[in-house]
């Protein structure tokens, strides 16, 4: 391959990447704009709240409790190397609230909700249900996308808050039952150590990750190609994009909150 051909290929790849980012950004702007303008579909929002929020509770709870428990064991074992076992409550609390709670809930939502939204919308596209919506004077962005993004924006911070609490309780259970910590002292240390900004950062991350997860599901679903392969690609692509964007957004938001 000649240097010019290589350069041309790099250029094409860069342009295709930029154009994909542009399309996704325009899609997101469109989704927010449709969220603000009538008509609204409250029944669709309620369904999405139920699917994204309520039905994700078991997986979020289980993920958080096991992570909190494992975190307590790790911190205890690691802390023992320099006689710092007593910091388990504080580190579990800060680790869950600032980092693991939002990220793990975000990733679980990407696995559970993003994939489901992408597969559902992609199937609707393949079976002409999206075209049918249009012919029935219903804008797919308003009827399918806006309710799901709004529901994720509302429910994922709540899930993150619940995940934080369950994760801390997982650490508490392991610390009190297995590591000999005093129950009241553990809870007091946890509460005393956490600052309002820790909780705010957790919830803000939850809102951002929820929006990313729902938006990627909708975007890939709406962009889906034909047939079963198209649905499969849309589902896979949506989860990959959501997971990477959640981790990237986590880095950026952590930097922002550290600078405050």
């Amino acid at each position: 391959m000649t240097p010019i051909a290589l350069l041309a290929r790099l250029g094409r790849t860069a342009l295709a990447g930029l154009s994909a980012v542009g399309r996704a950004a325009l899609f997101a702007l469109g989704a927010f704009s449709h969220m603000l303008r009538p008509p609204y579909y409250p029944r669709e929002v309620l369904n999405a709240l139920l699917n994204i929020g309520w039905l994700s509770l078991p997986v979020v709870g289980l993920t958080a409790i096991f992570t909190g428990g494992a975190l307590a064991l790790q911190i205890y074992a690691g802390g023992a190397r320099f006689n710092a076992e007593a910091v388990v409550p504080q580190i579990v609390a800060i680790g869950m609230v600032r980092e693991l709670g939002p990220v793990l809930v975000g990733l679980m939502i990407a696995a559970r909700v993003t994939s489901s939204i992408a597969a559902e919308i992609a199937t609707m596209k393949v079976t002409e249900q999206i075209d049918a919506l249009v012919t029935l004077s219903t804008h797919p962005m308003k009827y399918l996308v806006a309710p799901r993004v709004l529901a994720a924006l509302i429910t994922v911070p709540v899930l993150v808050g619940i995940g934080d609490i369950i994760g801390i309780m997982g650490g508490y259970t392991v610390a009190v039952q297995n590591l000999g910590f005093n129950a009241a002292a553990y809870l007091k240390n946890t509460v005393d150590f956490l600052e309002p900004l820790d909780i705010v950062s957790s919830l803000v991350k939850g809102a951002a990750f929820g929006t990313i997860a729902a938006m990627m599901g909708c975007y890939y679903g709406m962009q889906s190609g034909r047939g079963a392969q198209g649905v499969g690609r849309a589902t896979k692509g949506s989860v990959e994009a959501a997971a990477v964007l959640i981790l990237a957004a986590n880095f950026v938001l952590t930097g922002v909150f550290f600078s405050l």
Binding site: P39, Y41, M124, T127, E128, Q129, D131, A132, V134, T135, L136, S137, T138
Partner: protein
């Protein structure tokens, strides 16, 4: 009246419509025939604005289809999709009454349900189907529900995309008869795309043959068998030999 003037549409290198011009007089039933991939669905979707033509113009009652209030424009249309395109998350009656439950045509849910059940009866389905989900219906029943949804808001113009595809000959006959009856009864303008020559004869007032991205022949259905057009003759008699290249 619907008029397509010199409409072009390409997907990448594939020039699907290449100057298609067609007129569908008000209150008549036009059937567009043509081989697979000749752009019949593209033509139909271009009128509805689901696909934007590269060039050319489409008029509905003399007004450009891409101007004016989109909701009002679409409210004049009903469409039966090839696969039914029923919303699988909604029960049958909510599919049929979809347009009546939201937007400018919104009515109370009870009234919308009553209309849905009446339309289901009109297409030969009993009221107990109303609460089933689309996945619980056979292909023929899904087509009927799709037809009921297409006519629920009593549109002036109805499009039928391959209405008998995938159905057995008896069910195809039933759907053809229903379409004809409903179109006549409602006085609607109808546009159907199909490969099925039995459907053509049952539904059409006029026929247009689309080939090579243009209308190869158009005329009343009664003249179809004596058109003298070699493309149309080959198509309606299903011959492998002729001007239309048959890939074997």
């Amino acid at each position: 009246m619907i008029r397509m003037e010199n409409v072009h549409k390409a997907f990448g290198d594939n020039q699907v419509l290449n100057g298609m011009t067609l007129e569908i007089p008000k209150g008549t039933s036009m059937v567009i025939i043509g081989g697979s991939g000749t752009g019949k669905s593209v033509a139909l979707k271009s009128i509805l604005g689901l696909i934007t033509p590269d060039s050319g113009q489409i008029f509905v009652d003399g007004k450009p289809a891409d101007s004016g209030d989109r909701d009002k424009f679409l409210a004049r249309f009903g469409m039966l999709f090839q696969g039914g395109a029923l919303f699988d998350s909604l029960p049958v009656w909510q599919n049929v009454a979809f347009r009546l439950l939201r937007g400018t045509l919104k009515r109370p849910a009870e009234e919308a349900r009553a209309i849905a059940i009446e339309k289901l009866r009109r297409v030969g389905l009993k009221a107990n189907v109303a609460d089933l989900f689309p996945s619980e219906l056979s292909g023929g029943m899904q087509k009927r529900v799709g037809l009921a949804r297409a006519i629920a808001a009593e549109p002036e113009i109805i499009f039928f995309d391959e209405p008998t595809t995938g159905l057995d000959p008896i069910m195809s006959g039933v759907i053809n008869d229903l379409i004809r009856e409903i179109v006549v009864e409602m006085g609607a303008t109808a546009m159907t795309i199909t490969h099925d020559m039995t459907s053509v004869r049952a539904i059409a007032d006029n026929v247009a043959m689309l080939h090579g991205g243009v209308i190869q022949w158009t005329g009343p259905v009664a003249e179809m068998d004596h058109s003298g057009d070699p493309y149309l003759d080959q198509f309606i008699h299903g011959r492998a030999e002729g001007p239309i290249e048959a890939v074997r």
